[in-house]
């Protein structure tokens, strides 16, 4: 049975013991990367100390164990998102960005031709925009955008027309800038009615709420280990086994082949077809540990906790600073996650972040790799604070104290 206490997660997370500029660290940048708890770090250390070998190669004991670590992570990941055909549907990549590149350059190049439409949204991360632009340069596909409303939601009023001729609707489950959570299941149903497949950018959702790809009924699902308490350098692409088997290889090299002769090659079947070269192995040990850890917490519990933090922070940000601090995202805590993009009147986000650093507060200034969205709201940048499973209301206390200082300093 799961039990959850943010305070205990905090105790499990070594980095949260740091002191920055004389203050205990206040980590509010989980939308960029989450902090790994000790079991994740120990799993990777234990792997290197006891089991390291290349995978899918040797017959000696540690090589077999290393392969078990790697394939075990595939099975754990399949369980974590409820992949219907288990580990045959889990491709390991470098990160969410590489997952989208694999999707565009393999499935996209094989299935889309000039005039076909890929529908994305104005709130996408560049990872779910640029690969489609690159495919457009090569094949002449059309890339179409669902607009965003003034209240920071997808404008679905014209969705039926926008879906006309669409082969793939690729959208984010949760905006990394606005915090907005999109109705994945409903959008998927509508897209399927129009004959389109659905890809979801789950980078901002997997570490913060439960995931069930069967219930969502999506076709592709992309996410990163480091945004769910795991290590960097490891991402996931899930798709249905039937689709996966039809996709041509992506990167070529060792590990992804069944046979190579002087006159050609035969690609491997299954996920390994997309995993050329020695993969990140220790990182998969870390991912397995992160999954076990999150399952122990219970993602529904994490979601409830972060929801309370978000409600509290939204209320306090609205009531303090005489309206000088504006949240760029839904003001009501409905269908939104714990991402708070702040626009401080008269203070540039980089200056906000610099002052906050003096208080040990870690936020992210910038355009958050979502420049079409920033342009939509006529902003060059925001200072973004975001919660994780270890966040507490005391983090919000320090954030507000530091914001007050920034507002005062710049008058």
């Amino acid at each position: 049975m799961s039990s959850y206490s943010a305070r205990r997660v905090r105790g499990d997370t070594p980095l949260l013991g740091r002191v920055i500029n004389g203050r205990p660290i206040t980590y509010l940048d989980s939308a960029s990367s989450t902090l790994p708890p000790r079991p994740v770090i120990e799993a990777m250390t234990r792997y290197y100390e006891l089991r390291h070998a290349n995978v899918h190669r040797g017959v000696y004991q540690t090589a077999v164990e290393a392969t078990d670590v790697y394939e075990g992570a595939r099975a754990a990941t399949a369980r974590f998102i409820n992949a219907p055909q288990g580990l045959d549907e889990i491709v390991f990549t470098k990160n969410t960005t590489e997952s989208f590149n694999l999707l565009a350059k393999s499935w996209g190049a094989a299935n889309l031709t000039a005039g076909d439409v890929v529908l994305v949204t104005e709130m996408e991360h560049h990872a779910n925009i640029v690969p489609w632009f690159q495919l457009r340069e090569q094949t002449g596909i059309e890339v179409r955008f669902v607009p965003v409303t003034d209240d920071f939601r997808l404008d679905l009023s014209d969705l039926d027309r926008l879906l006309d001729g669409v082969k793939l609707f690729s959208f984010t489950a949760a905006s990394n800038v606005l915090g907005t959570r999109n109705p994945v299941k409903e959008l998927t149903r509508i897209a399927h009615d129009h004959g389109a497949l659905v890809a979801v950018d789950a980078a901002q959702s997997v570490g913060h709420q439960p995931t069930d790809v069967v219930d969502l009924d999506v076709d592709f699902f992309c996410f990163s280990a480091h945004k769910m308490l795991g290590p960097t350098g490891l991402g996931v692409l899930w798709t249905r086994a039937a689709i996966l088997e039809s996709m041509p290889p992506f990167l070529g090299g060792g590990g992804m082949i069944a046979d190579v002769r002087v006159d050609g090659y035969v690609p491997a079947s299954g996920p390994t077809r997309f995993e050329a070269g020695t993969p990140p192995i220790a990182e998969t040990a870390g991912l397995s540990a992160a999954i076990v850890y999150l399952e122990g917490l219970g993602l529904a519990n994490v979601a409830r906790h972060e929801d309370e933090l978000t409600s509290d922070a939204l209320k306090r940000l609205a009531n303090e600073f005489d309206g000088r601090v504006r949240v760029i995202g839904p003001a009501e805590n409905v269908d939104r996650g714990g991402v708070l993009s702040l626009d401080v009147d008269g203070v540039h986000p980089h200056d906000v972040a610099q002052v906050l650093d003096q208080f040990g507060v870690c936020v992210r200034p910038g355009h958050h790799c979502a420049k079409p969205l920033m342009r939509r709201f006529k902003l060059a940048a925001t200072a973004r604070a975001s919660f994780g499973p270890y966040s507490l209301t005391t983090d919000t206390d320090v954030l507000l104290e530091a914001l007050g200082s920034a507002v005062t300093m710049f008058g």
Binding site: Q354, A380, F410, G411
Partner: protein, 152 residues
Amino acid sequence: MANLDDLYREIILDHYRTPRNRGELTSPSAIRTEGFNPLCGDELVVYLDVQDGVIVDIKLTGHGCSISQASSSMMSAAVKGKTVAEARATIDRFKQLMTVHESSLDGQGEAPVADIRTMGELAALQGVVKFPVRIKCATLAWNTLSQGLDEA
């Protein structure tokens, strides 16, 4: 530990709040140069009116953080009315001021090579060196000016 007061000197905040030489030069002979900081999203346009080797006028548009805005404002005040050669010498001195010395980062002594006594207001920007990620904010205007002078 780097102190925030070293970065946000009063004179820097003054230039940020009341930037000098804002606007555009519309005369056909004016040189227009754009500068970008792609990581920050800072954008700057420098307009130069150079006649007989003298910067008779300079105007700036764009947006950015307090350091980039103050640095560009101070830059415009420092080079307006100066010869191109004098402006280039000021650019060189400013770049020296922004050079990170490992010794100063280690806290084993301040060591800017430029003589801050010759730099007037610009010396206020030397605290930026203690915040290495912000150096590119301070140098944007100067790199853009340098490009513009190349076209003069």
